[in-house]
């Protein structure tokens, strides 16, 4: 069999195909993550903004990628003088970092 080796060209296309499949899947996930962060930031800003006057630049959403799971960190600065007092009190209690795990 090994003597016939020169007759059998090295078939590299299947390797390319497999590498590509993994790569493209990975790329798509990355892009989706980037989109997720943008969408979440906008929606969180819209939601909190309905109850408190917050600065859109002070809404930070981050995905910290781990091996098995990723951590979503949301950091919102809420001014002490909020529009609706009832809401602001609740917000103050949870002010700082709200972290939740997903996937």
């Amino acid at each position: 069999m090994s003597r016939l080796h020169f007759l059998t060209p090295v078939s590299s296309a299947p390797v390319a195909r497999e590498r590509l499949q993994n790569l493209v899947e990975h790329d798509r996930r990355l892009v989706n993550h980037a989109d997720l962060v943008t969408v979440l930031r906008e929606e969180i800003y819209a939601l909190i903004g309905r109850h408190a006057a917050i600065d859109p630049g002070k809404v930070q959403v981050m995905v910290v990628r781990g091996t098995a799971t990723s951590t979503l960190a949301v950091d919102i600065e809420v001014p002490n003088r909020a529009r609706a007092p009832a809401t602001s009190r609740r917000l103050h209690e949870g002010e700082g970092k709200a972290a939740l795990s997903y996937r």
Partner: protein, 271 residues
């Protein structure tokens, strides 16, 4: 109202400009009014491939900025009277293109022509996104090679989100054009096959352009391959692709290996 097509790929050197010229000329041969627009500001080449480099006076930037009228900047093809070129500027940089300016130019072209084919620069920066901004359909050019296919996959994502039509909730029709396809290498297991590329990108196939010496010969001569190498395999493949772009159903043939029995036997062994 004409149709606006963007020819894009992400990766450079896969054949966007060659394909823009070839498809444009093929459509114009059928009597339709076609304009090919070079969006590669600073690195224009469509004029060279079309053999019109010595007749460029004004360019896209001049029209966008209002220093020239559209009619002054359009260069008519020497051989096909319904084919026109709107060249890019060679001296300015891409920041000279404004979205509003491009919108006005494209709207005017859309009224005058049946087909407006925009040759996108490589990359995913401003020039590329502006080229696809006002498109109705996209032709994604890919070589059966890993970096090209990967970039095409990324481009599909941009084509789905960046154009105005997509932002308005619509969906651009996308076509995959595989260029520089070498059947002999595929048979030997050295190149990704059509099926592999389609499986990864899952786009409808517009055409398969075989690798051929004729393509370089045509660009050396400054004529689209569909003008000067009309009987060659790549030219025929581009004519078929142009008909499909026009909505016709044309049977797709995967170019076969013409090297003969021995190569085919070896190829089969490799597979």
């Amino acid at each position: 109202m004409g149709k606006v097509i963007v020819v894009t790929s992400g990766k450079g050197g896969v054949g966007k400009t060659t394909s823009t010229a070839a498809l444009g000329a093929a459509l114009a041969r059928g009597g339709q009014k076609v304009v090919v627009v070079d969006f590669d500001v600073g690195l224009r080449n469509l004029d060279l491939v079309m053999g019109a480099e010595r007749r460029v006076v004004f360019d896209l930037i001049n029209v966008v900025q209002g220093t020239a009228k559209l009619a002054q900047a359009l260069v008519r093809d020497k051989r096909l009277e319904t084919l026109y070129l709107l060249p890019a500027s060679q001296t300015r940089d891409k920041d000279a293109l404004t979205e509003d300016g491009v919108a006005t130019v494209i709207a005017e072209l859309r009224e005058k022509f049946d087909w407006v084919i925009c040759d996108s620069p490589a990359g995913i920066e401003r020039g590329a996104t502006l080229a696809m901004r006002f498109a109705d359909e996209a032709v994604i050019v890919a070589n059966p090679e890993i970096s090209s296919v990967r970039d095409s996959s990324r481009m599909i994502g941009l084509v789905d989100t960046k154009p105005l039509k997509a932002e308005a909730g619509g969906r651009l029709e996308k076509h995959l054009l595989i260029t520089r396809f070498d059947p002999a290498r595929v048979a030997r297991g050295e190149m990704l096959g059509i099926g592999d590329v389609l499986e990864i990108l899952s786009l409808p196939l517009l055409g398969i352009i075989p690798e051929s010496e004729e393509v370089l010969r045509a660009s050396n001569l400054g004529a689209p391959i569909t003008v000067c190498g009309r009987d060659s395999a790549p030219s025929r493949a581009y004519f078929d692709a142009a008909r499909r772009l026009g909505g016709e159903t044309v049977a797709m043939t995967i170019p076969s290996d013409s090297k003969g029995l021995l190569t085919r036997l070896l190829g089969r062994r490799a597979a």
